[in-house]
């Protein structure tokens, strides 16, 4: 049921759905259903686009069935379920709308595979707020970029190429002179070297300690009395250097990746970053950028918010949406036996795995997905932006892009399956 025969075609200006930068300048060649990234592909894009699709069939408990029977079985599981959990949510806006409709109907809990990071951000937004900026603003305006706990490129390979070392800019005519700082450890800082060889400054520090460093920096900027005696000479120098550049930036940008701040209460570190940026804005301009929300994560936050009022980790079981960013996480719901069926959706990245659970598991995932257990139902699905058109939100949560179809797939879309299931319930 996989790749139908079709003529060779070169697709230009293809938006790539495989990370939340949504680079939309890719050139993709389709030769008899085999895709090749011809231009502007990063390692991530190439790995995903060029992956060979196995030909597999829907299964119930490992036994091959028709799509119709698989869909019927899903509807039966959901009909007898009292507390379903829809998670993974690796799909596009259309798939998310269908997911939420079905979740509303079946009284489900809704969460996303990357919501641990996304929720860290939401807690900051809901507590004190922030000052943000977007990719085009950075590309044209920034003269200073601070990366806190991320090097950007490990997760988003074209970040520097597209937004930092770009040749053309509207306002900053010396993009090569942009100051780059890193705060963190195990970061790939090589892309931070400017085209003419200017080295970035790296403040070596454990991710868990970024919050403390930022607190001292914030206090220093504010002119508060800070006991700096415990700092090493090197750290003191870094602190002063950073304080100087933050204050003298015309348009500074602070970048973090909530998914890469993986330690307890990392939201407090993010909040420290945001509060410092607010403070800097008393005298100059500065904005934050959060990098994260692949696999439709940013889209899931947005669609869930406009439809339910809450950004994921929503429970529709009482007939109306209830929000609890801790209790309704996938991990906690499964750990506390709060769900009796799991629908796991992952139509972008083959490397994601549904969590093991002692309840019926319905897997709607890319054909190459290899779950480490036999799900009750597995329907291989096609990928938005490869096999069908659709929409995704970018990491800055402002821009959304239309996805293109570059391949004909015999696999159904998440939206199609869920709409069929919805029709049966």
């Amino acid at each position: 049921m996989n790749s139908a025969k079709h003529p060779d075609k070169i697709h230009k200006e293809v938006p790539c759905p495989f990370c939340c930068l949504l680079c939309d300048d890719l050139v993709i060649q389709n030769r008899a259903g085999i895709l090749k990234v011809r231009e502007n592909g990063c390692s991530r894009a190439i790995a995903h686009y060029e992956q060979v699709q196995p030909e597999i069939q829907p299964t119930i408990k490992g036994k091959v069935v028709t799509l119709k029977d698989a869909i019927l079985h899903i509807s039966n599981i959901l009909k007898s379920s009292q507390h379903p959990l829809f998670s993974g949510l690796g799909t596009d806006v259309g798939g998310l709308r269908s997911t939420l409709q079905l979740a509303d109907k079946t009284g489900a809990i809704v969460d996303h595979m990357h919501s641990t990071g996304l929720t860290r951000n939401m807690l900051v937004l809901q507590d004190l707020g922030w000052m943000m900026t977007t990719l085009t603003e950075i590309k044209n305006h920034a003269d200073l970029i601070v990366f806190a706990g991320t090097d950007a490129v490990s997760g988003y390979p074209r970040f520097f190429e597209r937004f930092i070392w770009n040749k053309n800019a509207l306002f900053n005519k010396n993009t090569g002179g942009r100051k780059v700082f890193y705060i963190g450890e195990n970061l790939d800082t090589r892309p931070g070297i400017s085209p003419d060889g200017q080295q970035p400054v790296t403040v070596q520090c454990k991710h868990e300690d970024i919050g403390e460093f930022i607190a001292i920096l914030h206090a220093t900027l504010a002119g508060d009395k800070v006991n700096l005696e415990n700092l090493s000479g090197k750290r003191l120098k870094e602190l002063k250097l950073l304080a100087y550049h933050l204050t003298n930036a015309r348009y500074g940008v602070l970048v973090w990746a909530p998914g890469e701040m993986d330690f307890p209460h990392a939201e407090l570190t993010i909040q420290a970053l945001c509060e410092m940026v607010k403070f800097i804005n008393r005298s100059t301009r500065f904005g934050c950028l959060s990098l994260g929300g692949n696999d439709g994560g940013v889209s899931a936050v947005n669609v869930s918010t406009w439809q339910s009022g809450y950004p994921l980790r929503v429970n529709f079981n009482n007939g109306y949406p209830e929000y609890d960013p801790s209790r309704f996480s996938t991990d906690n719901v499964l750990k506390n036996n709060e769900a009796d069926a799991l629908v796991w959706i992952s139509s972008f990245d083959t490397n994601t795995r549904p969590p093991k659970a002692d309840i019926p598991v319905i897997l709607l995932a890319t054909p190459a997905t290899e779950p480490d257990f036999t799900p009750d139902v597995f329907i291989p699905v096609c990928t938005p932006g490869v096999d069908h058109a659709g929409y995704l939100f970018r990491t800055d949560s402002v821009v959304s892009l239309p996805l293109k179809q570059v391949r004909v797939s015999g696999y159904p879309s998440v939206k199609h399956i869920l709409d069929c299931v919805s029709g049966l319930i």
């Binding site: 200006e13 938006p15 949504l22 939309d24 300048d25 709308r97 409709q101 509303d104 109907k105 939401m122 937004l125 809901q126 507590d127 004190l128 707020g129 922030w130 000052m131 943000m132 900026t133 977007t134 990719l135 085009t136 603003e137 590309k139 044209n140 305006h141 597209r162 937004f163 053309n168 509207l170 306002f171 015309r250 348009y251 804005n281 100059t284 301009r285 904005g287 936050v301 947005n302 918010t305 406009w306 439809q307 339910s308 009022g309 809450y310 529709f316 009482n318 007939g319 109306y320 949406p321 209830e322 929000y323 929409y391 939100f393 949560s397 402002v398 821009v399 959304s400 892009l401 239309p402």
Partner: protein, 542 residues
């Protein structure tokens, strides 16, 4: 029946509906499927909200940041309706249901950032029942400011404005703090009408007149929709008067003018400018306004005006706020706010809005808005209508607010009570005419059968809160203030002409400076339909 477009003021008439439209009396041979006895009831066209923040990035940020608002106002799902939540920033489904339950059938999102237009339309696709439309934001975007600064030809600017309307599927153009959102990105903290944006060297006055001219030259029915300079700043009534003069007689709509009508008299250096503003509006027939009435209680302010939202963050309640610079295009600021009747300033804001309603003579040029959710959620419209129609109720309310504010206000001396006819003008006929919606806002043959039927109650708040019947495109969608049928509304757009040559310049510009391709920035008609919006209605340019 109250149908001001046809001069019908409380007359008894029959209305015939066929295939979603109002039609003339059919031949006697035609079988009538269903008959509604509306004796002793008040019939108006479905209401139209010309300025309500219902969809797009800043509204979604407001929703995201206020779970406490939503917990207090859950909306349960029913057999026909979706669940949702939210009082000040309701979820999309709840927005559509609540508007329809109040007899509103068309709502215009007033601040659609071109960079965020697709998002706005995707959200609005999930607002059921009502028709939607949006003004595209211009006047802080680099491309326009660059053109203006370099003295580009008027026709080129028209082409760009027209291109934006086409590309973003808009029904008008709005400017927010002209040049000020951009100036804030260059660290300017205030920008008066004749102050220059430090980067481009252009003034808000130049931006306003240029855009107002383009809007007129393109034949866009709705005048340039203006959120002026200095919103909320004491003394800004002078800016507003200057802005009216700056229009140079061109049509201009001044949005939420209450927030732009403040003087600096009195011990507290904060006073009402309503008399001056109303006088100017009355004297300048090219000017229309909506009020942006505030009502007491918790709300959230969501605006493109980063410069003044940043300045206002000190008043955030609860203390959290968001400011965002966006795509060399515009920005947004979201600041929760609680209006208190015992606060002098808030109480005076309340009186200023009401004074403006009562002092502006021509209901065809003043529209009923709370700038939802900035002054109050749209669900407070019935209460506001009662304040306008019932002087004794108004005076009762006046006696409960901050004593000094009540004492300095002229509100108690204003006897005017709006009539049902004037309410029908202000909430139906005038918005439809201003927006250029050909077959909305009236009850004549050919109009869409968007009809609201009220019980004629003395308590106008109760009357306008729960209409007996609401018809949308001929379908009975609400009964006694409850949704009984859910349908999809349409999206109203314009397709003004332009020279396609501008796309060459724009493509080059996008390739060099933007982070998305020009073709992906543009929204196709198909996208709107594919989202489940029902359909697109292309309104005519003049």
């Amino acid at each position: 029946m109250y149908d001001p477009i046809h001069g019908i003021n409380g007359e008894q008439r029959n209305i015939y509906i066929r295939d979603g439209f109002i039609t003339t009396k059919p031949a006697t041979s035609v079988r009538i499927d269903r008959n509604y006895d509306l004796n002793d009831m008040i019939i108006m066209a479905g209401a139209i909200d010309i300025h309500t923040h219902i969809g797009g990035g800043k509204v979604n940020i407001a929703r995201m940041m206020l779970p406490e608002d939503h917990r207090g106002d859950p909306v349960a799902r029913t057999a026909i309706t979706r669940s949702g939540s939210g009082y000040t920033a309701p979820s999309t489904f709840a927005t559509g249901y609540r508007y329809a339950e109040m007899g509103y059938t068309t709502c215009i999102e007033p601040a659609m950032l071109p960079a965020n237009a697709r998002h706005a339309h995707m959200e609005m696709a999930d607002i059921p029942i009502i028709d939607k439309g949006a003004y595209a934001l211009l006047g802080n975007d680099d491309f326009f400011l660059r053109m203006l600064a370099s003295g580009k030809d008027r026709s080129l600017i028209c082409d760009y404005v027209s291109w934006i309307i086409n590309a973003t599927k808009a029904i008008g153009i709005k400017v927010v703090n002209p040049g000020g959102i951009s100036a804030f990105k260059f660290n300017q903290r205030k920008l008066d009408l004749d102050e220059t944006n430090s980067h481009y060297g252009v003034t808000p006055r130049q931006i306003l007149i240029t855009l107002a001219r383009a809007v007129r030259e393109l034949g866009i029915p709705h005048p340039l929709h203006v959120h002026g300079c200095n919103l909320g700043v004491p003394g800004n009534l002078l800016t507003t008067l200057d802005t009216i003069r700056a229009a140079e007689g061109l049509p201009m709509h001044l949005a939420h003018i209450q927030f732009h009508s403040y003087g600096t008299e009195g011990d507290r250096k904060f006073s009402s400018g309503s008399a001056h503003i109303a006088e100017a509006v009355n004297a300048n027939s090219n000017i229309s306004i909506d009020v942006g009435q505030i009502l007491f209680g918790q709300t959230v302010t969501a605006s493109g005006d980063t410069m003044l939202q940043y300045a206002g963050h000190r008043h955030a309640h609860p203390n959290k706020w968001v400011i965002m610079d966006i795509e060399c295009d515009a920005g947004c600021g979201v600041v929760p706010f609680k209006y208190r009747d015992k606060s002098f300033v808030n109480a005076l804001q309340w009186t200023i809005g009401l004074e403006l309603f009562l002092l502006v003579n021509d209901p065809w040029r003043i529209f009923l808005t709370t700038d939802h959710p900035n002054g109050a959620p749209f669900t407070s419209y019935p209460h506001l209508i009662r304040l306008l129609m019932d002087r004794s109720f108004r005076n009762d309310m006046l006696s409960t607010i901050h004593k000094q504010a009540a004492a300095v206000s002229i509100l108690g001396s204003l006897d005017r009570e709006y009539s049902l006819y004037e309410i029908a003008i202000m909430t139906r006929a005038a918005p439809a005419r201003s927006l250029g919606l050909q077959n909305r806002g009236h009850l004549g043959a050919g109009a869409a059968a968007d009809i609201t039927v009220y019980k004629n109650l003395k308590n106008r708040e109760a009357m306008f809160a729960k209409p007996v019947y609401v018809f949308k495109d001929g379908e009975l969608v609400a009964r006694n203030g409850k949704i009984i049928k859910v349908i999809n509304g349409s999206t109203h757009i314009l397709k003004p002409e332009y020279d396609k040559g501008i796309e060459k310049t724009l493509k080059n510009y996008f390739d060099k400076y933007h982070t998305m391709k020009l073709d992906h920035f543009k929204i196709n008609d198909d996208e709107i339909v594919a989202h489940g919006n029902g359909n697109i209605i292309v309104q005519s340019c003049m």
